[in-house]
C-alpha cells in the first residue's frame, strides 16, 4: 500500500526538552521542487523559533501540518514524492500523519533531559547527553552561551552516536566562578567531562564554537590522544581582529534594551533574536557570579584596552600536526570574528564556509553544520 518513494518531512527535535513544534509559516507550497538545505517552514517552540531545512530533495506533494498547529516531535508535517506516486498512496500516508498530530503528546514530563555533573578543581560542570550508543561527540559552546547553543544539532547528531553538550565554568548551570578565566582553566573542565563520559580514556570528537573552539583546540594540544577529531566553528584565536564592541557590550548590558542590539550582532538574520532568547540571556546574566565570570573571560578574549584578540589558537593547532584532523566552519556573514580568519591556520585543514550565516551557523544553518560535522567524524574513522 505505502510507496517507499514517499519521503516524510518530520517535526525536528530542537533541544532535549522539545516535545511539540508549531508551524508559523510554510515557505514551500505543494508542487514545489526542493533540494537538500532549502528552507521549508518556520517553526516555533516554547523556547525558540527557527527554520526547518530540507534533509533531502524532491517534490512537495502534500503539506499536512497547518500553520498554527502543534505537532509532536518526529510527527510528519509534509510529504515529498515523485510525480508518479499515486494520490491514493499519498492520502493514506496523510491520514496516518494526521492521526499522530491529533493525538498530541501526553504531558508526563518524560522529556526532561538527564543532566549529569563532573567535577573539575572543585567546580561543578554540568552536561547533558543525547543518544545511547556509538562514538562520543562533545559540544563546547562560546562566550556567554550554554549547552542550549546546540539546540538544533544535539539530537540530530545523536543518531548512532552519544552526543554531549556541556556548560563551561561561568555559564549555564555550571559553577559560576571561573578563577583567572584562562583557556587552560576552561580546558580542565572539558577534560573532567571527558573523564566522566569516557572513563577508559577512549578518544572523542570535539566540536567547539567561538571561545569554545579555542578551548577545544587547547584540550587537543594538551592531550591529543583524547581527541579523535576537532571541529571548530568560528573559533577564537585565529587572528587579531574581533568585534570587541560586541564582547564588551554583552558583558556590560544590564537590561533588555541594552542587550537586544548586542545579541542581534550574532546573527545574520536578526529576526532570530526573539524576546525569549533575550529574556533567557538576561536571566543568565543576573545569576550571582555571572557578571564577574563574564568580566574575567573578557580579559582572556581581549587585549586590555585594545580591540584585539588575546587568545592564540593557531599555535595549538600547528602543534597537533596531523595527529588530529581539524575542520573549520565559518559563517560568511559573521559580524563577530571575520570568516577570512579561516585561512589563517596552516596545514591540511578542511574548511566549510556557510553562505549567509552569521556567528551562530549552528543555529542559522544547522543542517549544513551537521553535515560538515558528520563529514569530519567520518573522515577521522
Amino acid at each position: 500500500m505505502s510507496d517507499d518513494r514517499i519521503v516524510p518531512v518530520t517535526m525536528p527535535k530542537w533541544g532535549l526538552s522539545m516535545r511539540l513544534g508549531k508551524i508559523t509559516d510554510w515557505i514551500v507550497a505543494e508542487g514545489d521542487e526542493v533540494s537538500a538545505g532549502d528552507d521549508l517552514a518556520d517553526i516555533e517552540t516554547d523556547k525558540i523559533a527557527g527554520t526547518l531545512e530540507a534533509g533531502a530533495g524532491g517534490t512537495v506533494r502534500r503539506i499536512i501540518a497547518r500553520v498554527g498547529e502543534d505537532v509532536p516531535v518526529s510527527g510528519t508535517i509534509a510529504l515529498l514524492a515523485p510525480a508518479d506516486v499515486s494520490d491514493g498512496d499519498l492520502d493514506a500516508a496523510v491520514e496516518q500523519a494526521r492521526a499522530v498530530i491529533e493525538a498530541g503528546v501526553a504531558d508526563d514530563g518524560s522529556a526532561e533531559p538527564v543532566v549529569e555533573t563532573a567535577e573539575a578543581d572543585g567546580r561543578q560542570i554540568r552536561y547533558a547527553r543525547a543518544g545511547q550508543d556509538g562514538d562520543a561527540v562533545l559540544l563546547i559552546h562560546g562566550y556567554g552561551g550554554d549547552r542550549n547553543s546546540w539546540l538544533f544539532l544535539q539530537e540530530p547528531l545523536a543518531a548512532g552516536r552519544r552526543v554531549y553538550a556541556l556548560d563551561l565554568p561561568g555559564h549555564g548551570t555550571s559553577t559560576k566562578d571561573v578563577g583567572d578565566g584562562s583557556v587552560d582553566l576552561l580546558a580542565d573542565a572539558v577534560l573532567a567531562v571527558l573523564d566522566a563520559i569516557e572513563p577508559s580514556g577512549t578518544s572523542v570528537h570535539l566540536v567547539g564554537h567561538s571561545l569554545g573552539g579555542a578551548v577545544a583546540a587547547a584540550v587537543a594540544a594538551r592531550d591529543p590522544g583524547r581527541v579523535r577529531s576537532l571541529t571548530l566553528i568560528a573559533p577564537a584565536g585565529f587572528g587579531a581582529e574581533i568585534n570587541a564592541g560586541y564582547l564588551r557590550g554583552f558583558a556590560e548590558a544590564q537590561t533588555r534594551r541594552e542587550l537586544k542590539p548586542v545579541v542581534a550582532q550574532l546573527f545574520a538574520d536578526e529576526n532570530l533574536v526573539t524576546r525569549q532568547l533575550v529574556d533567557d540571556l538576561l536571566a543568565y546574566k543576573r545569576l550571582d557570579g555571572v557578571d564577574a565570570a563574564l568580566r574575567a573571560l573578557l580579559g582572556t578574549l581581549l587585549v586590555a584596552d585594545a580591540d584585539a584578540q588575546r587568545i592564540d589558537t593557531t599555535t595549538a593547532i600547528a602543534a597537533l600536526g596531523d595527529a588530529v584532523p581539524v575542520t573549520v566552519i565559518w559563517g560568511s556573514a559573521d559580524r563577530i570574528i571575520p570568516a577570512a580568519q579561516a585561512d589563517l591556520v596552516k596545514g591540511a585543514v578542511r574548511r566549510h564556509l556557510i553562505d549567509g550565516a552569521g556567528h551562530m551557523p549552528q543555529m542559522e544553518r544547522p543542517a549544513q553544520v551537521q553535515s560538515a560535522i558528520e563529514a569530519a567524524i567520518a573522515e577521522s574513522t
Partner: protein, 337 residues
C-alpha cells in the same frame, strides 16, 4: 538549573539564600517561627501562610516571633535597619498597616532624605494583599497605591515565582525601605525558578505577552487575569501586549509608553479601588506622554469604590475577572472616532 517551584517556595528560597550569604539578614513577625503558645522551637507556623517555615532551625537566633503589636515590631525592624541589620519584617496583612504607618511613611521613608543621604534603611516589609479568600473587608485590601504615593519607599508586587525570588533578593540587598506585596491567591502558583541566587532590578517592567493591537498594563495577580483575557481575545483575532509592572515604585515608564506607542490603545487592570490607584496613575502617565499615539480613550478595569464584601457571591463580582478585561479590550479595540 531551573525547576518548577511555587511562589511560596520561591520566597522561602530567596530568604534562605540571602540569610546564608549575609549574617545581617534577620526575619521577624507574627508567627514567623512557632506561633502562639509555642516557644519557637516547634517551628509550627512559619508565618500565617508558611513562607518562613523551616528558617527557624536553619538560622538559630535570626528568626524572631513578635507580639501582635505592629507599631512596635515594624518600628523595631526599621530601627535595626538604621543600625546595620537587614531585617525582613512580616506585616501579616497589609490591612493592618494603619497602626504602624508613622514608622513607615514618616520615619523609614524620610531618613535618607532628612540626613542628607548619610542614612540608609535597608528594611523589607513583607505583606499579604488581595481579595479572594473570603476574608472580608479588613483582610483583603490592595493598599499598594498608598505606599506608591510616598517618595522614599520602594513598592514591589511579584506576579510569578521567578519574579518573587529575584525581586525578594533585590529587596534585601537594596539600601532603601521596600514594601513587598505578596498576593494570597498566588502562593501555590508554580513556575520555573533557577536554584541559584539572582537579583531582578527594580523599575523594569516585564512584557509577558507580545501583541500589536491593545496594551494591557497589570500588576500582581491581575497579570494572570490579563493573560487569560488575552488568550481569549487572541482566538477572536485581537492581539494584546501584556505589561507586568513588577514594581510600582520605581515605575518603568518607558516600557509602558513604548508599548502604547506601538498599539495606540490601553487598558489598565488593577485589583485596587479605582480612585488614586495604579490604574489612574498609569492612565495619567499615558494621557500626558503618549497622547499623540492614543487611538481610543483609555479603559480601566478595577475593583469598585467599596470595601471588599464578605458575601462570597459579591466578592466574586468585586474582583476584576478575565471577562471584564475582555470587555474593556473590545471597547478600546472597536472604538471609532
Amino acid at each position: 538549573m531551573a525547576r518548577n517551584i511555587t511562589y511560596r517556595e520561591a520566597l522561602n528560597e530567596a530568604l534562605t539564600q540571602e540569610m546564608e550569604r549575609d549574617e545581617s539578614v534577620i526575619v521577624m513577625g507574627e508567627d514567623n517561627a512557632g506561633g502562639e503558645g509555642a516557644p519557637g522551637e516547634h517551628d509550627a507556623w512559619g508565618g500565617v501562610l508558611g513562607v518562613t517555615k523551616g528558617l527557624y532551625h536553619k538560622f538559630p537566633g535570626r528568626v524572631l516571633d513578635t507580639p501582635i503589636s505592629e507599631s512596635a515590631f515594624i518600628g523595631a525592624a526599621i530601627g535595626a535597619a538604621t543600625a546595620g541589620m537587614r531585617p525582613v519584617a512580616e506585616l501579616m496583612f497589609v490591612d493592618f498597616m494603619g497602626v504602624c504607618f508613622d514608622q513607615i511613611y514618616n520615619q523609614a521613608a524620610k531618613f535618607r532624605y532628612m540626613f542628607g543621604g548619610k542614612a540608609v534603611t535597608p528594611v523589607v516589609i513583607r505583606t499579604m494583599y488581595g481579595a479572594g479568600l473570603r476574608a472580608a473587608a479588613q483582610h483583603s485590601q490592595c493598599l499598594y497605591p498608598l505606599f506608591t504615593h510616598i517618595p522614599g519607599l520602594k513598592v514591589v508586587l511579584p506576579a510569578t515565582p521567578y519574579d518573587a525570588k529575584g525581586l525578594m533578593i533585590q529587596a534585601i540587598r537594596d539600601n532603601d525601605p521596600v514594601l513587598f506585596f505578596e498576593h494570597k491567591a498566588l502562593y501555590d502558583l508554580s513556575g520555573p525558578v533557577p536554584e541559584e541566587s539572582y537579583a531582578l532590578p527594580f523599575g523594569e517592567a516585564n512584557v509577558v505577552r507580545e501583541g500589536g493591537d491593545v496594551t494591557i498594563v497589570a500588576m500582581g495577580r491581575m497579570v494572570h487575569t490579563s493573560l487569560e483575557a488575552a488568550e481569549q481575545l487572541a482566538a477572536g483575532g485581537v492581539q494584546c501586549e501584556v505589561v507586568d509592572l513588577r514594581t510600582t515604585s520605581p515605575l518603568d515608564e518607558d516600557t509602558v509608553l513604548e508599548s502604547v506607542e506601538g498599539t495606540g490603545r490601553l487598558v489598565v487592570v488593577d485589583e485596587a479601588n479605582p480612585r488614586c490607584s495604579m490604574a489612574t496613575d498609569i492612565s495619567a502617565l499615558v494621557a500626558r506622554k503618549a497622547f499623540g499615539s492614543l487611538q481610543a480613550p483609555i479603559e480601566m478595569v478595577t475593583a469598585p469604590h467599596t470595601p471588599v464584601p464578605f458575601s462570597g457571591a459579591l466578592e466574586d463580582l468585586y474582583i476584576p475577572d478575565a471577562q471584564r478585561v475582555v470587555n474593556a479590550v473590545k471597547t478600546v479595540a472597536e472604538y471609532a472616532r
